[in-house]
């Protein structure tokens, strides 16, 4: 009896200890991730160029490559990602409840989302905005010539409001032709019900491909609204916030410094101090984030620099062929700018 009691006490304290350490182990997102061996990344359930499964069932897209970059930085393996497809409504809940560690799901950065949901936006991987698709036959080259045009637009979206704002601000007239779904909108444009189709530029490219003659329509250069899309993390774990933020910055810095997945091994010997710092040859900038010194090297060698992921998924090397536009580097007149690694 005595013996049994002792054994019982030992067992309970052992159990308590195990529980206690288990509680400690789930202290940070990074440690959890190392234990699971995968980054849990929330992506869209299918958006051309941003996230969609390819013929082999691997996720592809510019949002997906952000997840892959983080996995490369944290675990040294870009394929160590567990993708969770989320629709627009449940995306924030999934992040808040811990079902995913980060969200990379064409999410627009707005004040409300950044300040009221307990979430943090870590940067912008695609500057989107509303644009116009016009038939080539019209010979229009700028949105300023659209006065009096019939415009196809999807109902119930901010697109509709932005359109009205833009035309009022520029003192022009237009006739809205409203449709329920994006397929119907394309159908209306193709059937000649309108001269112009408006939507976010990233969508316009995908819609253009679905026309029977994609070459017969052009996307105008004007962008009339701000839709910065970027990765999101939970508040309360600043280390993890920093990791996601700097994974994106590392890709932008790599493009600026001319480091790509092809030449990254040669660049290891570079004399340029900026390159040496980014690639961990001079100092260890990963340490303060809880990462290895080669965190950025892993990102660039396995995923590529920002220009590569842009071209491959949405740019000229992809079927979408979206111009770099405002997504060019700041050195080339665009908005993509990353703080230096030092």
């Amino acid at each position: 009896m005595q013996y049994n009691k002792k054994k019982w006490v030992m067992l309970t304290s052992a159990a308590a200890l195990t529980l206690g350490t288990a509680g400690l182990a789930s202290a940070t997102t990074l440690e959890d991730m190392r234990e699971n061996g995968a980054v849990q990344c929330g992506v869209s359930d299918g958006l051309p160029g941003f996230s969609a499964p390819d013929d082999e069932g691997n996720w592809q897209g510019i949002d997906v490559d952000v997840c892959r970059a983080v996995a490369a930085a944290v675990l040294g393996d870009a394929d160590a990602v567990r993708y969770v497809s989320l629709n627009a409504v449940e995306r924030f809940t999934a992040l808040q409840s811990g079902e995913v560690d980060m969200l990379s799901r064409n999410t627009t950065w707005t004040t409300t989302r950044d300040t009221t949901l307990g979430l943090n936006f870590t940067g912008t991987n695609f500057y989107d905005g509303q644009g116009f698709l016009v038939s080539r036959d019209l010979g229009i080259s700028s949105a300023g010539e659209l006065d009096g045009a019939a415009i196809c637009v999807q109902s119930g979206t901010t697109t509709e409001l932005n359109l009205a704002d833009y035309f009022r601000a520029n003192d022009m007239e237009f006739q809205p032709i409203v449709f329920d779904t994006s397929e119907q909108t394309v159908g209306g444009f193709e059937a000649g019900r309108c001269d112009v189709l408006t939507s976010d530029t990233s969508q316009l490219a995908a819609l253009r491909i679905q026309l029977s003659d994609p070459g017969g329509a052009v996307i105008l250069p004007e962008v009339i609204s701000k839709e910065p899309l970027g990765p999101v993390v939970r508040q309360g774990d600043d280390q993890w916030f920093n990791i996601v933020k700097w994974s994106l910055f590392a890709m932008i810095n790599a493009e600026e410094l001319g480091i790509s997945s092809d030449n990254v091994d040669d660049m290891l010997d570079s004399e340029n101090p900026n390159v040496a710092r980014l690639l961990g040859q001079d100092g260890n900038y990963g340490e303060s984030m809880g990462l290895e010194a080669d965190w950025a090297y892993n990102i660039i060698s396995q995923v590529g620099n920002y220009g590569e992921i842009y071209d491959r998924n949405v740019g000229m090397d992809s079927p979408l062929e979206i111009e770099r536009g405002v997504n060019r580097l700041w050195t080339e007149g665009g908005l993509q700018y990353a703080p230096p690694v030092r």
Partner: protein
């Protein structure tokens, strides 16, 4: 004097009363008005079918690997062809697909054993199918034991996921539904009110709301870090929803059995479960077959709603494939394929139910 007993040889029936010509005359051209409608119908059919066949078969492209192989004049079945594996197995890793195949082959074998009347040992096969097989299927598909690598549920998808959702929903909902129906007819007030509340609650809420609550609200109530697999959430939601519907179908069947049957059984000294199990339910279930299959078919199609909680069932995986930038613009082909698959399964279920009705027919049918 002898009778001349030559038998008059059989003569064929008059040409105009047998054969296809007579059938046509009797059914399609029996009068000027009917003839007119027949011709009108044929013309409409011609108008509708020609473009459909032209698009789906004659102008269609069948062979190739990318969108460049499609002329875009007719259907581009190259798209469906390239994605067929994904439509059936979802994002399940290529090297592990044999596990899904083995699971469904085993399931089909067990079902066939139960469905073919001549085979013996049914008494043993039935519990194996209901109890041992789900465990076997889970271990096989999810892995983690016996050296099988783990395949997490977010990689499951396509037709196999649709079948899993529908099968689990049907198999689990039927017994729960029977218990609920019996409970609702019970004399015990607490049992009865619990059953009534359960049925009315789950039946009064749309399935899409249940799935939505399970995926959006439930995680907020759980402690941080604790998550229930979304497939499990969907399965529980579908099962509870379906069992409420099933309960009402079963109750309808129970009410059709005359009260005398139960009273006679009671007079013979049978207890409640004997009366139900041996007298009432066997008669009632037989009559419920059309109703039960009806709810099964509607459940099978309702499984597409799991799309809204981010599970890729057959329709979901088709839609995800449509958003691959290499295959933009083949929505019609994808949806036609999904519709065809759903039709095949629903039609088979309907045929099987008619076969069952014929087999169990014992004279109650009017």
């Amino acid at each position: 004097m002898t009778h001349n007993e030559t038998v008059i040889p059989e003569r064929p029936a008059p040409r105009l009363t047998v054969g296809p010509l007579a059938w046509l005359r009797a059914n399609l051209f029996s009068g000027p008005v009917n003839s007119l409608f027949t011709l009108l119908g044929l013309y409409l059919l011609y108008l509708l079918l020609t473009p459909a066949i032209q698009w789906a078969l004659i102008d269609a492209d069948w062979i190739g690997t990318s969108r460049d192989d499609c002329s875009r004049e007719g259907a581009c079945w190259v798209f469906v062809n390239a994605r067929l594996g994904q439509f059936v197995y979802g994002l399940y890793p290529g090297g592990e697909i044999w596990r899904i195949n083995l699971m469904f082959a085993t399931f089909a074998a067990l079902l066939a054993w139960l469905a073919i009347p001549r085979l013996p040992f049914k008494r043993w096969v039935a519990p194996v199918t209901l109890v041992a097989f789900p465990v076997f299927a889970y271990v096989l598909l999810y892995g983690g034991h016996f050296g099988l690598p783990v395949v997490e549920t977010h990689r499951w998808g396509g037709l196999s996921l649709t079948l899993i959702l529908a099968t689990v929903g049907m198999v689990a909902a039927l017994p729960i539904g029977i218990v609920l129906a019996l409970g609702r007819r019970s004399q015990m007030p607490i049992v009865r009110s619990v059953c009534v509340v359960f049925i009315e609650f789950w039946r009064g809420v749309p399935l899409i709301t249940i799935l939505f609550m399970a995926s959006v609200m439930l995680p907020l109530f759980l402690p941080t870090g604790m998550t229930i697999d979304r497939l499990v959430r969907a399965l529980i939601g579908i099962t509870l929803f379906q069992s409420a519907y099933m309960a009402e179908v079963v109750r309808g069947g129970l009410q059709a059995i005359p009260r005398g049957q139960e009273e006679a059984a009671a007079a013979l000294g049978m207890g409640y479960w004997q009366r139900m199990g041996l007298i009432v339910l066997p008669q009632a279930l037989k009559m419920m077959i059309p109703g039960i299959v009806n709810t099964f078919i509607s459940l099978f199609k309702d499984t597409t709603l799991v799309m809204i909680i981010g599970l890729f069932d057959l329709l979901g995986i088709v839609q995800a494939a449509l958003s691959d930038s290499r295959w933009l613009g083949f929505a019609v082909e994808g949806y036609v394929f999904a519709a065809l698959m759903f039709w095949i399964f629903c039609f088979s279920m309907s045929r099987y139910s008619q076969y069952l009705e014929k087999k169990l027919h014992t004279g109650h049918k009017r």
